[in-house]
Amino acid sequence: MTSERSSSSNGFNPAALLRDERFWKIAFQVIVVAVVVGILSFLVGNLSGNLARQGISFGFSFLSNSAGFSIGESVVTYNPQDAYAKALFIGLLNTLVLVVAGIVLATLVGTAAGVASFSTNWLVYKISRAYVGLVRNIPLLLQLFFWYFAIYGGLPNPSNQIGISGLVYLNNRGVSILWPESTLRLWIGLAALLIGAIAAVLVWRRRTHVMVEQGEPGKTQLYILWAILAAMLLVFIGLGWEFPEAVDGGGSTGGRRLSREYVASLSALVFYTGAFIAEIVRAGIQSVSKGQWEAARSVGFTNNLVMRLVVFPQSMRVIIPPLNSEFMNLAKNSSLAFAVAYPEMYAVANTTYNQTGRPIEVFIILMATYLVINLIISLGMNQLNQAVQFKER
């Protein structure tokens, strides 16, 4: 290439270089990196200048200082003399309590609403569609305020509280529900439940095995299964439930008291995320081809069985990846609970920033925390995703 025009330039031809794709690839990257590094160094330079002017030095040593603020509710004991690190940890625990309950309940609500949109009952179908169309188009924060101020705030005060057959008490401070007492009995009971669940799964597998391999009806295993489930139910009832009891002059003791902040945040997160999950479930079920329905029906399955055994397992492949990002959204959206003064991670971090005046450090902690939460959700969902993928050789 260069030899043709070597007369015009001494062995090196800039025009040829400009036509060379490899040169442009490298040059472009160099330019991009240079621009990014330039902008970053400009910003960081400003930052260090500004921080030096304010007399702040970067570092995380403030975390061991005494926090000095109280936190409205916490899972483990905390007092204001504890360090900032402890306070942030309490915030993290509160976030996790909200996120885990939110994920479980939102999945239930969303799956129910998603399956309901395939109902042959016109009314149920319409209600499911209306729920999704309404909730998805209204901002979460507004819904949160609505739950907190209009619905739970509109409940009667503790002296006129609503009791539902002694199981639940509702008033404008919060909700009391029955809850197992934390005694040795509870832990033994939980262990028994776990063993029962494992046994049930094993028996179920055994039943499938004998039915498929030996062509037996599997009746014996079915009876064993029923017996295990009945025993589990008995253990569950006997966990040592503590009933909330109304107190004269308002409020209740015993059971588990959930603050109004927590209940409102949970309701808003569950119903908002549930609407999105409903759409995911609906799309997943729709993605299973019609032939699967028809084939299953033609071999004599009832509608219910087709859904349970044929369509739903296949739709899981389509459902799980978007469900993963919906769970991560729920985890991030849980930070909005801060707006109704639920002391979760973001709220505590914000107070920490206000007291210490260290935006950068607090932001790094926040970022790392939410990244780790999302990473854990993602890892769990990926495991689940692998379990439902096509088993190919």
């Binding site: 991009v32 500004n50 042959t120 009952n121 507004l142 305020f145 509109g154 926040l366 939410y370």
Partner: protein
Amino acid sequence: MTSITPNTSPPSPPLANQPGPIAWMRKNLFSDWFNSLLTVVVVLVLGYTVVGLLTWGFTVAQWQVIPNNLGLFMSGLYPRDLYWRVWTLLGFVCALGGLSWGVLGRNVSTLFSRSVLIGIGVLCAFIVLFPLTRPASLKLLPLLALVVGMAWVGRAIAKKLPNLGVWLSAIWLISLFPLYPLIFNPIPYISLVPGSILGGVGYLFFGAGRPASPVNDWGGLLLTLLVAVSGILLCFPLGLLLALGRRSQLPAVKWLSTAYIELVRGVPLIAILFMGQVMIPLFLPDGMRPERIARAVIGLTLFSAAYLAENVRAGLQAIPRGQSEAAASLGVNMPLTMFFIVLPQALKIAIPAIVGQFISLFQDTTLLSIVGLAELLGISRSILANPTYLGRYAEVYLFIGAIYWFFCYAMSLASRKIEQKLNTTH
């Protein structure tokens, strides 16, 4: 169309087997015992709820809080003597909206079909019969007339110039520039001069020549819409670049884009917004402090761009390699292939996801109320803090909920229409 042959008229649909109401109920509500039980339970619960809501709405609720504060809801503390600007803006938008309607509907046989006419009639009747604040709400009638008139004009023009449809989005985009200073620039005489575009932008972002009128008093629906539109306009190009960067074969570009997208997607928006209010001034040279609104728009844009990038990337991934290979074999270079062959197809696929992201950006503007801006939710909270309206939570939140619902639903409806229009599969 002088002679109409039977072939040109669409075949009439088969006569629907219209069941009577009893048969319909039997099929859809009472097909078996389970469905019947379900129907009865649902009807009971629904009836109880609806009756309760209606009783509350007509007896307990005090709706006076809405009309008394309509001005606040719509434009916050925007100076009253400058309301004409807001009305001008609304007129502008109505005129453009009508024009677009006319241009887009140029091939429809009757633009004002019966259902549209009925809709307009109902709207007029509603405005006249339920005046929220009489003098202001009557101004809506000429606006409605403007929409209809411009639709007629747009149709007439579009019949002469069929290419106008292509330029419609460009017209909207260009017209935004004079509209911005109209709202943001507090000095009246330069507001309509095109040269004030830079002034408006500079003022907004750097507080250049800060005048007496406090920017941060603007609020209500006006602020919500302005922030949402600015966020959407700014995050789209950024998201597009990030998506292209993440799909790039150049390692440096790819890693930088990926790192940005994943880091931003890992953090809640409220953290970005709140810390943005604090940190953006820290990262800028001493003395440079963008307005609070601008800081919010920056935070919202940086956040949404990362999500948008993922939506666009999904679209890009759906385009088969053969498309770019075919272009390469014809000698089209990389950038041209990207912008004329791959991107148009990818964006078409990604439209529902992109509009979904715009909808959530619109909803995310409510978070600005937490960082102290009086957008629609923020102004509602300050109205509710007024002792006169103490405890009117349900009324106010239902009202603004309806507004948010209207805009989000309109966006998703538009997305579905565009999708249908661009659908070229057979």
